[in-house]
Symmetry: C2
Subunit: 333 residues, 2 copies
Amino acid sequence: MRDVAALAGVGLKTVSRVVNGEPNVAAETQARVRAAAEQLDFRPDIHAGNLRRTDRKTRTIGLVVGSVANPFSGALHRGVEDLAASRGTAVFASSLDDDATRETRIVSEMLSRRVDGLILTTVLKNQSYLAPEQQRGTVLAFVDREPLGIEADTIVTDNAEAAAAATAHLVAVGHRRLAYLGDRAEIWTASQRRTGFLRQLGRVGVATADIPVIEGLHDEASAFAATLRLLDSPSPPTALFTSQNLVTIGTIRALRTRGLHNRIALFGFDDIPLGDMIEPGVSVVAQNPYEMGRLAAARVFARLDGDDSSFSTVVVPSTLIHRGSGDIAPPAD
Amino acid sequence: MRDVAALAGVGLKTVSRVVNGEPNVAAETQARVRAAAEQLDFRPDIHAGNLRRTDRKTRTIGLVVGSVANPFSGALHRGVEDLAASRGTAVFASSLDDDATRETRIVSEMLSRRVDGLILTTVLKNQSYLAPEQQRGTVLAFVDREPLGIEADTIVTDNAEAAAAATAHLVAVGHRRLAYLGDRAEIWTASQRRTGFLRQLGRVGVATADIPVIEGLHDEASAFAATLRLLDSPSPPTALFTSQNLVTIGTIRALRTRGLHNRIALFGFDDIPLGDMIEPGVSVVAQNPYEMGRLAAARVFARLDGDDSSFSTVVVPSTLIHRGSGDIAPPAD
DNA sequence: CTGAAAGCGCTAACAG
DNA sequence: CTGTTAGCGCTTTCAG
């Protein structure tokens, strides 16, 4: 910038004014400065400026998602990114791979880069470690999973209720021998979905003691193996509830391997791509990750713009999509 | 940092030394500094430091992808992110939505944030505008699409050759009345694929004059509509080549709408999720976007670590996956 | 309308 | 082993 000033034959501050579009610069001076900047390929260093700037906004936010292996995160990211781009804000995205030990490390790296806001899908049990940072003015928003030990804007799906609705449907079709296949119980959403599943069974008087509840499934492979074990057991279930898209896909593969995809009912949580084109169509609870990302970003930007209303929790509606697999009736026996 | 120094009763530089793990600090002093830092929730500002640091590395790279709506980008991002995370480097990700006007703006924003490197999937015809930046030391790598007007490490799939191989297969099965359904011709990969398709037909003596070449398809909806028009034409093709995953999906929907999915052959470029589970299985050219992301990131990091060998272009192999749709024979007539 | 001086949070270079 | 001084590239403040 000094070079630009020298070349244009003006003071440092004048260049600064031109670059930032501040008023009170003669048109002719402006032109000279711009020409000089162009010639030297000058590019202002946003961070150097922020060091002295009063608002200290880096126009950068961080997004921490649970697992990039899951298309859910992709859609969420897109939602955030779409809103951020329209505001000229850059987005750091990083994945936890649902590994709790990475959470503090990644968050800390983002904070060192002085992000204005942080959108988090957390894995850790407790987020109270973020309180000092929040105090300092960093805007926090939680998506998909509710935080513990800290208050902030939160965007979630009503996981328990949606899981219960799907379960209710399976029961209504006539199933009593159900099974639950889900992710690790430490993950907030997974435990919520399990709760919803079991609670609904309890409500309608299905004894949950005999219901297999298999947890810790994280990818297609583990879900595939777990489903096969279930199908090969002495008294296999007549309906399956899978608590996550990757698990749903693994389960479908297992059902097909045993030729049971048209005989055993299946309801999955999270939509899966092309779920309407396979046979039978896959019934799912569809969340709206794109919208969740948008809403979270919107909250963050509102806070950055000065909104200081009390923290809110927004529940994004999810929908049951009936495509066939959830309507398979139990065998007459 | 000054506050930490005051609280610990040491000089500013000593705090700096402790924070950066530099040697020559007494263990006892170190402990005192750490305690003070903890107490004040001190977090070093990486950018302030970089202002003075000699290497001037922000440990940040930028990733510019074509379209986040495409799962290809998600996998690419994951590849980059996986490598970057292991190096403690943060990744800015931004999407162009294949909109050329956004390219310069987004790149410029990233450069203002002083990224050490930039991994780009470009839309613009020409990338020479990046030359000054490259001169300045910013490491550039291009993925998926070859740059023009600038030299840098490049990671691509051999699009033309893979498209030709898929086309050859369709011809080998007996098809002569083929059609091409593809993305906008300005997109480098799209034009490469079209070239490969047409060249292969030329090679085997299929007159390309009568072959419908439909371009400008960008999503499922437009591909769906275009395919329907094709199917409803007086002399519909017996085999389709779709040059991109979203187009492939739209085309499949159209084929199913007309009940022709088992009568008209289909070969797609890019794999689609669950492509093996629908009926018929979808034959595709599968690229390896995750690996492409990893390789691009690896090149960037190697350069940052001082590698100054001449620029290389790596061609990541793609594979033909035969799942059925490409093996449908033309009607005997 | 313009510029000079001070200083943001940190590290480099050099003294002690 | 530790502290002091200067200065990174920019914006602020204030005086022309």
